[in-house]
Amino acid sequence: MSAEGEPANSPLLAVGQLTKLFGTFAACDGINLDIRPGEIHALLGENGAGKSTLVKMLFGVLAPTSGEIIWQGQAVRINSPSTARKLGIGMVFQHFSLFEALTVAENIALSMNPGVSLSRIAKEASDLSHAYGLPLDPNAHVADLSVGERQRIEIVRALLQNPKLIILDEPTSVLTPQEADRLFETLNKLKAEGRSVLYISHRLEEVQRICDRATVLRHGKVTGACDPRKETPSSLARMMVGSDVAHVSAEGTSAKGAVKLEARHLSASARTPFAVSLKNICLKVHAGEVLAIAGVAGNGQGELFDALSGEYPVANDDVILIADKPVGTRGINARRLMGAGFVPEERHGHAAVSALSLSDNLVLARSQSDRRAFLGGGVLGLIRQDAVKMAAKRISEAMDVRKSGENPPAGSLSGGNLQKFIVGRELDRQPTVLIVNQPTWGVDAGAASRIRQALVDLAKSGSAVLVISQDLDEIFEVATEIAVISEGRLSDIYPASDLSREKIGLLMGGMYGKTGTAETAHAH
């Protein structure tokens, strides 16, 4: 029994009433979905809607609790990724399943037929990657590659299996706009060859641009199946979120005040072999401004945050100034005491200790800056649990943090709610300088808009806000000024209204206008 004899529009893959339970929680609840040959099918949904769980079942990583998967007209059981690959399903994961210590060719070899020699795999991978416009050096170590290049490995690895269906999980979240355009060309090439693509995303603009059909998930259920080109972004968003998403308003931003945060020719060498060194970074953030730093992941964002926050102080005092005071060699608590607040990138294990309660996490961050309020007993530093719990409650209410119980462990909150709490923890102090790294990474749309609005409001009230983000939508929503970081270098700072996505994309690739410095010199 083969697919050739069937009519062209009979589905390549059909999923019926597919359900996955984790305990009593239904991550996927009676999902119906069909993918036709030669189409790009979008799977839309918020974080936690069940998209990843669904595709993990299709790829044999998770076993479904109930329901059926029909591949080319036949019911199949996909109980391992190799079964999926044999059927003709390829997968590009969101969090790459790559091995940093191995070379590109070795990574690809791991998912190939063991009879093929490594040198032949290297050659085939190199040829294929060039044919699809995704050039790769097969002998490079993955650890040395950019995120975009790593994604190419995943795609080439999937393509080498000659799949009929390729599943891509949030592929553009790590790409520059130009890299994304290139990916879309590749996808259209695949479609023209008659392959199907299941394209997982929460970015409506892309889905409307490249997808033929869309299935929308919310809370593990299908809430819509449509032709995305016939929908509007807001109608799609309604299907995804279930209600209208509040629009972030940056109107009425106050006039520029004094410089509150400044970096003067900040350089820092890389701490680990795979880190990025900071090269001669100059920036000023005035009171009332939101400076957003755009850039593709792994271009020095984390290192810049570490230097500015004092997690890793730098060698010279006068390269970083908070409210005109040199702080380069001071630690994070000293800088907090001067009125700065910091929100690092990783929620779990960096911004918060998952196993500790919200109030304990509050004390950990602010025990020095709010010593008088939170600690008693003189030198003993006993925690005033009542005062801390009151403050935690105040923060939760201010940021609309939804949680189970009065003071649950941080790990029990959803990503969006924990992030709201962590941002709220800093906002609660009314910091004069706030530095935030990836404030809404992996956060649902409702929480993201809440957090962004809070950042805008803080700047309006006269604080200086620095946002490091990879999300261009977010940057255009919150920023008054924009700069781009690339390989540890920071571009000039532009007013947000002067920049287009294309220009930012060029800056992300490190292509500064040769006259860039001269232009800004004129502008000042």
Binding site: G60, V61, L62, A63, S80, P81, S82, R85, F93, F96, S97, L98, F99, E100, A101, L102, E106, A109, L110, S111, P114, H141, A143, T272, P273, F274
Partner: protein
């Protein structure tokens, strides 16, 4: 045979058990498992090899018994840490203590018996090469095996597909699982290879180094092997370099003490450790290479989320 050759022969004998135990542990750690029970597996191997040799009269049966006992003992470690997901560090330490105890018990009646030394295998023409011939081609089976194992492990890890899979499991077990590689089975095999090598190293102690049985006769060599793996940054041939350096310095310092050089004996006894650490730090100063060779998943338990 000159004194220099005699010294070199003892160096080889002293280095071989270190190389053997370390190359086995290297494979185990490359798969992401930290087995601190090398000392215990080694001393079990020594006891079982000696007992089997005394019972059958054949040291070759003794070698097999040493290998088998090391592998079986490591299987216990594998069951506890891989199937029952017990803490690897604690289990490894327990394995060492258990090994020292059990070997002392089963070997009690053999203490003081004189054993049978493993015979030399002489390669006809090669052994006549001046100086090198007697050193390299007039040796026992375990020495030849130790060199063959290092070469084999190097080939396996960096040239074979199975070795690539093993390294991938040690680098990121969840990625390896997502690719359909059986993480637990790979680790079981790697742990048992490590156990077999440690058992063989023990057999060398009780059949070649000093052909008799004494309680606790591994005398900390398992721990040195563990350190060698780290300092060799998980690369097979560096194990040979480190093992032989350690052997050379510890034998020379014995001679130095015997000749009565006016250096405190405590310092001389510490010298092998110092020399090995210094040299291996020097050759592993390239941080990027070290990072690429370090198994990122080392010591982390794997539980598939099904």
């Amino acid at each position: 045979m000159g004194i220099f050759e005699a010294i070199l022969l003892t160096v080889i004998t002293a280095a071989t058990p270190l190389v053997l135990a370390a190359i086995g542990e290297l494979v185990t750690e490359r798969s992401g498992v930290l087995n601190l029970g090398v000392e215990g597996m080694m001393v079990m191997g020594a006891a079982c090899a000696f007992i089997a040799t005394q019972q059958t009269g054949s040291p070759y049966v003794g070698i097999l018994a040493g290998i088998a006992s090391g592998a079986l003992f490591s299987l216990l470690f594998g069951f506890l840490t891989l199937t029952l997901v017990a803490n690897q560090v604690a289990t490894g330490l327990a394995l060492t203590i258990l090994g020292l105890g059990v070997s002392g018990m089963i070997g009690e009646s053999y203490v003081g018996q004189s054993g049978i030394k493993l015979p030399q295998i002489v390669f006809p023409i090669l052994s006549d090469i001046p100086f090198l011939g007697p050193l390299l081609f007039r040796q026992d089976l375990i020495f030849y095996l130790s060199i063959a194992l290092v070469a084999g492990v190097h080939w396996f890890l960096f040239r074979s597909r199975a070795g690539l899979k093993l390294r991938s499991v040690g680098d990121s077990h969840s990625s390896a699982h997502a690719l359909g590689i059986n993480v637990i089975r790979t680790r079981y095999l790697a742990v048992m290879f490590g156990g077999a090598c440690a058992g063989l190293a023990g057999a060398q102690l009780s059949l070649v180094y000093t052909p008799q049985w004494a309680e606790n006769m591994s005398a900390g060599r398992g721990w040195i092997a563990l350190a060698l793996v780290v300092f060799a940054s998980w690369r097979p041939w560096r194990i040979v370099a480190g093992g032989y350096l350690f052997g050379a310095v510890s034998i020379s310092q014995l001679y130095a003490q015997a000749f009565g050089i006016g250096i405190p004996s405590q310092f001389l006894s510490a010298l092998p450790y110092l020399a090995t650490i210094v040299v291996l730090i020097l050759i592993s100063h390239n941080r990027r290479m070290t990072l690429i060779n370090t198994p990122a998943a080392l010591g982390k338990a794997f539980v598939p989320d099904r």
